[in-house]
């Protein structure tokens, strides 16, 4: 394979700036697909992604392109996830490339994720081709966007390409620019193989299938390979690539992107960022940058019907084969019984897992309120990390508690700087810098507690900036914080599944909102139910659900006993979907009330 005829690149963009549309046009021009197949955006293949309009898992296609010069090139278009929950996967995808198309919406200009993605690409020394998209829209302002790209990213304005991915305008020029500007891959075909795992998924016939970019050497059927981080060794059964339909290849050499099958049991055996090498003569150094995926958000997961515990375990095991980024371990709740403490990359990731469990495994689930990880420094100086409020140690033994902070980048039109600063202040943020990217766009950098941006920060930002503000973040560090544990008591009994850790200043408001919300969600019972919010022994809010005094079908005669029984059965079924906590029947939704309160409140 002539390396000079290979180009590896990604398309990076802020959400909705047209990444998938441009990818579709490129596929079309390279004749990869028939028109009929072009009807939908091909790269977003999973159902969930289609529904949410987000690319969750990276995918990659290998395309043949006949250039204006008459030469035939191989393009490896490596897709990247478009959500901040998947930061690490984006960076790994970019490592596999020599260049990136940076798309910027001509009507919106640079947004927070444009910046974040561009910085990631620059860190990897990629050649960036700025592509200004949606020039067909009346409100497009190409000159302004070019000025921003020059000013903010320090790129050459003359290098900007203006396109309408929707109409195809300017796309051929983009393909030529890929050849002219992005360097071909390097690599020594004779060296010991080194290939980077960009992505991996589970196939019920083939097992875990890693998508790799080869840097050195060659990988082919029959080779004995080793994954350098996990240490797993396998024999390659096949190598292949998406053209975009799956096609077997004899081998994968330097600069090539493709997948291999090797009867690998679990996706967690094929970690994104790991290096594949030869088992017999391994490379001395892996490709740098591998990180264990880090769960950032934790939640307790229980089957609504406790008889489903084993089914839930099986479902989690199966799902984990396919998505090693979430973690789970058994936990026991006094209120909910046996379940699992699950870790997720972020709330979107949690939602995806929840939907898949409910849809694919037909389970009715109770998720407890998500929480971040807190670092608890004990009087002894020992520090422990806790992923559940229930694990907070006795406070007399605690010196202080630290919570995770993030570094948030917010891009906002200058008119909205005031409201955004106010929002960040409410969220306990500290401003690091503020600078004008051009006369209209301001970049605000804040240090913010992760717990504050977890639930609704993005929605609030959109609302105070009329949709113009954008946001991106990276994890920073643990910082000492005045947090307290807020307990909820039902009829004077604390319910561990309702506990949360919250900043002292917000506890009072939060306790009131939460008890109020739960009063509405918990149906009346045959006795009075009190709901209290307490910090330690101090009750800060209280609500009462009055006892049910009347529930009787007045009219019951006639011979249709079957129907009467069915009506009672229906009523009884409704109760089955509830969880008994002590003697109180609590519906599923009440466990998520914390989440809703966070969304409603400030």
């Amino acid at each position: 394979m002539n390396l000079n005829l290979i180009r590896n690149f990604s398309i990076i963009a802020h959400i909705d700036h047209g990444k998938s549309t441009l990818a579709d046009r490129i596929l079309e021009i390279t004749d990869a697909l028939s028109d009929r197949e072009m009807s939908s955006q091909v790269l977003d293949s999973m159902d969930l992604e289609q529904e949410r309009g987000i690319t969750i898992k990276a995918a990659s296609v290998r395309l043949n392109y006949r250039a204006a010069s008459g030469d035939s090139y191989i393009f490896n278009l490596i897709d990247t996830p478009g959500h901040v929950d998947f930061h690490y996967e984006v960076s790994r995808s970019l490592t596999a490339c020599e260049g990136a198309l940076l798309i910027v919406d001509a009507t919106q200009g640079i947004q927070a994720q444009t910046l974040a993605n561009a910085y990631l690409a620059l860190e990897q020394d990629l050649v960036i081709i700025p592509v200004i998209n949606k020039i067909d829209l009346p409100s497009a302002d190409v000159d302004r966007v070019i000025a921003q790209i020059v000013e903010v990213l320090g790129l050459d304005g003359a290098e900007c390409l203006a396109v309408s991915a929707k109409r195809g305008t300017g796309v051929p020029e983009v393909l030529e620019a890929i050849i002219e500007r992005i360097p071909p891959p390097g690599g020594d075909p004779a060296a010991s193989p080194r290939a980077l795992i960009i992505d991996s998924w589970f196939d019920s016939y083939q097992g875990a299938v890693p998508l790799i970019r080869v840097f050195d050497g060659t990988i082919k059927k029959g080779d004995h390979i080793r994954f350098m981080a996990t240490g797993g060794e396998y024999q390659v059964l096949s190598t292949a690539a998406f053209l975009p339909h799956l096609a077997e290849l004899d081998s994968l050499g330097p600069g090539e992107v493709g997948l291999l099958t090797a009867a690998i049991r679990e996706v967690s055996d094929t970690r994104v960022g790991d290096t594949v090498t030869s088992a017999a003569s391994p490379a001395s150094e892996p490709i740098p940058g591998f990180k264990e995926p880090m769960a950032m958000v934790y939640s307790g997961l229980y089957a609504a019907d406790s008889g489903d515990f084993e089914n839930l375990r099986t479902a989690l095991d199966k799902l984990h084969l396919n998505d090693s980024a979430f973690t789970f371990e058994p936990e026991t709740s006094g209120a909910l019984g046996f379940g699992f403490r699950c870790g997720f990359l972020g709330l979107l990731h949690m939602d995806i897992i929840r939907e898949r469990l409910e849809r694919e495994y037909d389970l009715t689930l109770i998720f407890t309120a998500p929480t971040v990880v807190y670092r608890v420094v004990m009087n002894s100086g020992e520090a422990i990390e806790i992923d559940s409020p229930a694990r907070l140690p006795e406070l007399s033994r605690v010196d202080h508690i630290e919570e995770p902070y993030i570094l948030g980048t917010i891009l906002v039109p200058s008119d909205y700087v005031g409201p955004v600063m106010k929002l960040c202040q409410e969220k306990r943020g500290t401003q690091r810098t503020m600078k004008y990217l051009d006369t209209q766009t301001v970049e605000l950098i804040y240090e913010l507690p992760f717990s504050e941006i977890l639930f609704d920060f993005h929605d609030k930002l959109k609302s105070v900036t009329r949709g113009y503000g954008s946001f991106d973040y990276e994890h920073l560090a643990f910082r000492p914080s005045e947090v307290v544990k807020l307990d909820i008591l039902l009829n004077d009994q604390p319910v561990d599944a309702f506990s949360s850790i919250i900043h002292k200043e917000k506890a009072y408001y939060h306790g009131r909102a939460l008890t109020g919300r739960m009063r509405k969600l918990i149906p009346r019972q045959m006795f009075e139910v009190s709901i209290q919010a307490a910090i330690g022994n101090r009750v800060i809010a209280r609500e009462t659900i009055k006892a049910l005094r009347k529930d009787v079908t007045a009219k019951c005669y006639g011979g249709d006993i079957t129907r009467k029984r069915k009506l009672l059965e229906k009523q009884k079924e409704g109760k089955k979907r509830m969880k008994s906590i002590g003697t109180v029947e609590v519906p599923q939704e009440a466990f998520m009330a914390v989440l809703e309160v966070n969304k409603e409140g400030s």
Partner: protein, 387 residues
């Protein structure tokens, strides 16, 4: 041989009221749609008679003693008296109607129907149940009833004149926009008429009715809040008890000797044969029911069965015994339940009994279990424990 109860369903009404979820149809609508012809009454009575004949022979019921016959609806009083008499005659030919049997018929107030009372009495009907609901014209309009309060009083008087010595009144409370005083006035007016039996129900909003649809859309205003509704229940019990009526079921009251024997048979999980559109039967552990639409029923005669269910376990049978029987203030006798179902109720529901007794909903009197006053108001919470 345990005597049988027979139910005859007459599904025809002048108008289908907004709250009604019974198997009933406005006659005019049926005629317009061609579901029934001008000979509807004769055709229907003929189908019911064939229904009874075929069931009696198929189930080996011929010659059985019959303790109660009940014509329910719909509006049985709308049905021509000669056709009712024809059905009764056919019953007498096939069964042994016991001397002193209760032969009851539901009637709605209205001039046309009142005129039939004498003929019905003549045919052997000895109990009339009048669907009065309220004496207030405003309340009756809200319920979409087609009669006035005065019609209701007149219906009662003409039933008496026709010789009925066992008259029951149906009363409703918790009607939209009805206050506690108005509900009390209805109960007092009913007492003033001096019926032998009273059914006094709180209006229930049923799904599948006009009221149900309005309620779901939040458009059915004026329903009493819980405090008011509870006050109405209390008022009803107090006034009727003071007037000498004994409460024997959640919503039923009677002077001594006048409990409705037909309904008692349902609540005691006795056997019954049902004829007519949508009528249900319970014979030898089997429940079966007929096609609900009158035209389907008439056409299907010979075998009008639309569905059936077999109660095949003692546990289910005992569960039903309590689900039905606990509605009665006398409660359920553990020994009788054991005898009729062939298993020990305490073995199956012992835990449920203790739990309910502990929460003050159920009480034990010797070998009998019955609902407490609190339990009567929370009956659904209790009864669902038995299914």
């Amino acid at each position: 041989m345990t005597p049988l109860s027979i139910y005859i369903h007459i599904p025809f009404c002048i108008h289908k009221c907004g709250y009604c979820d019974f198997n009933s149809y406005a006659l005019e609508g049926l005629l317009e749609k061609g579901h029934v012809g001008e000979d509807w009454a004769a055709a229907y009575a003929g189908a019911a008679i064939r229904d009874i004949e075929s069931r009696a022979s198929a189930l080996g019921l011929a010659g059985m003693p019959v303790e109660t016959v009940f014509f329910g609806g719909g509006t049985p009083s709308l049905f021509p008296a000669p056709e009712t008499a024809r059905i009764l005659r056919s019953l007498r030919e096939r069964f042994e109607i016991l001397p002193g049997a209760e032969i009851a018929l539901e009637a709605n107030p209205g001039a046309a129907e009142s005129g039939r009372f004498a003929a019905l009495r003549e045919a052997g009907v000895n109990r009339i149940s009048i669907g009065m609901q309220s004496f207030s014209d405003t309340a009756l309009r809200r319920l979409e009833r087609v009669h006035t309060g005065e019609d209701a009083r007149e219906a009662f008087r003409s039933a008496r004149r026709a010789g009925f010595e066992n008259i029951s009144l149906d009363l409703m409370f918790g009607i939209p926009h009805q206050g506690l005083d108005e509900a009390a006035a209805d109960v007092e007016s009913a007492i003033d008429l001096g019926p032998e039996h009273l059914s006094a129900y709180e209006l229930t909003i049923e799904s599948g009715t006009n009221f149900g649809a309005l309620h779901a859309r939040g458009e059915l205003g004026g329903l009493p809040d819980e405090d008011t509704a509870l006050a109405m229940w209390e008022m009803r019990d107090r006034l009727l008890s003071a007037a000498g009526y004994e409460r024997y079921e959640i919503s039923n009251f009677a002077r001594p000797g006048f409990k409705c024997r037909h309904n008692l048979n349902y609540w005691r999980r006795g056997e019954y044969l049902g004829a007519g559109a949508g009528a249900h039967s319970f014979i030898a552990g089997r429940r079966f029911w007929n096609h609900a639409r009158p035209d389907h029923y008439i056409k299907a005669s010979g075998d009008p069965t639309a569905g059936k269910e077999i109660i095949d376990s003692a546990e289910k049978a005992i569960g039903e015994t309590f689900m039905l029987g606990l509605r009665l203030t006398d409660g359920v006798s553990l020994d009788e339940a054991a005898r009729s179902c062939g298993a020990d109720p305490e073995e199956i529901f012992g835990g449920v009994f203790s739990e309910l007794i502990e929460s003050g909903l159920l009480e034990r009197a010797g070998r009998t279990l019955r609902l407490t006053p609190k339990g009567l108001l929370l009956a659904n919470q209790v009864l669902q424990k038995f299914i």
